[in-house]
Amino acid sequence: MKRWQAFWFAPSSPAPLGICRVLFFGLLLPEMLDPNLSLWGDVSPVFLAHPWFRLPILPESALRMLQIVWYVSLITSAIGLWTRGSMAVAFLLGAYLLAVPEQFGKVNHTGQIVVLVLAVLACSRAGDAWSLDALRKRKSRSRPPPSGEYTWPIKMVWVIMAVIFFSAGVAKLRASGFGWALSDNLAITLLQHQYFHHPLTRWGLTISRVEWLCIWLAATSLCLELAYPLALISRRARAVLVPSLFAIQVGILLTMGPTFTTFFICNVFWVPWDNLLERGRLCTLTFNGDTH
């Protein structure tokens, strides 16, 4: 019970969560600038799939208006202006706008993590540091002391990422069993993507011709996905699993084409910002000749 409490609510300084907020919203904005989003308001309902997943599709002009408000909320969330309200708006509009395209044809799997992280941040005090709000308040008050309020949002994002990767591993085992890794599945998948995805490199073609390498890569990926939850409880596992899954997604981008930018962005929550800030402070002191 003590470990559980410490995991979620051990007091920490507001800076790491503030940095995560700045980077998450700042990097998310360019990724979300989508000139096509409002056009979904003009697509025939004949394309609507998934009867269990239906939201009203607003007209094009209304979607465009919501999109603009959403972008503004992402900017104000990043710079930390009226942070709590901005993040609440960013979550509510993001949950709707990111769901709109997913109702046509297929569901992509890069938007869900954004909505969940937006929800976490909307409930957090991520604006207490590295924000314009904090600068304004500091004139009248001192820095906020360490608190569990700055710990749990980061841990919740960890849990979300662990659940996602674990689910992806389970889905592979349920759909295909160990044959997913121990067959020429990856070789075929790599080859298929050359025909329509135009990946950044031709490495996929080379890899697809080396049978043992395909099996090793597929088996490793599957194991890493299933093991990802260990990153929540073990520092050593975290040091291996988080960079490995990041590398796998970069590998997919290079060899097959699909991008996982939203996942790349969410990795900012794994960075030990407090350690880096402390090191940076020590370096500055050393550089200034002040070693006390």
Partner: protein, 156 residues
């Protein structure tokens, strides 16, 4: 700031419960439950060295065909469009509406082209094909599918 209250801690636990329950529901049922998902991408193992995609071609005034990509089918990207048509074909209740889908693409192409949002020639129609490739180890036959079956044609 005072230390976290019990109520606030309960709220965090409730949020965690929502995340875990929603994810478990999606995984167990295998259904998308926005924003939760079973994350089935690439889950089904590929067994055959073939590829089937749905391709759209525009018909120009001289009756020649021009291959249309994501820029022409906005807001669809090619993979989403191909999956949308695949699902239309797979759904007995909607299978007969493939022409309607192509007609909608042509209408949107015209509207976006006239407003300058799409660069492309004027079209008098569109064709939808189901295209099949036999995979080549070096992908040398991208322009030589083994089968191209016309599913729909819209002419004005």
């Amino acid at each position: 700031m005072p230390e976290m209250s019990r109520a606030r801690q309960r709220f965090v636990h409730a949020l965690l419960a929502v995340v875990l329950t929603g994810s478990a529901y999606a995984v167990v049922t295998g259904q998308e439950a926005w924003p939760f998902s079973p994350y089935p991408m690439y889950a089904k193992a590929e067994r055959q060295r073939t590829l089937i995609r749905y391709e759209t071609f525009g018909i120009q005034e001289d009756r020649s065909e021009i291959r249309l990509d994501g820029r022409h089918l906005r807001p669809f990207i090619i993979s989403r469009f191909s999956t949308a048509i695949k699902e239309l074909q797979a759904d007995p209740a909607r299978r007969g509406r493939v022409s309607e889908a192509v007609e909608d693409c042509l209408r949107r192409y015209d509207r976006l082209r006239l407003s300058g949002k799409i660069q492309g020639p004027p079209l008098i129609g569109m064709r939808l094909y189901r295209t099949k490739w036999q995979l080549d180890p070096l992908a040398r036959n991208i322009d030589q599918p083994v089968e191209r079956l016309k599913l729909a044609e819209i002419l004005r």
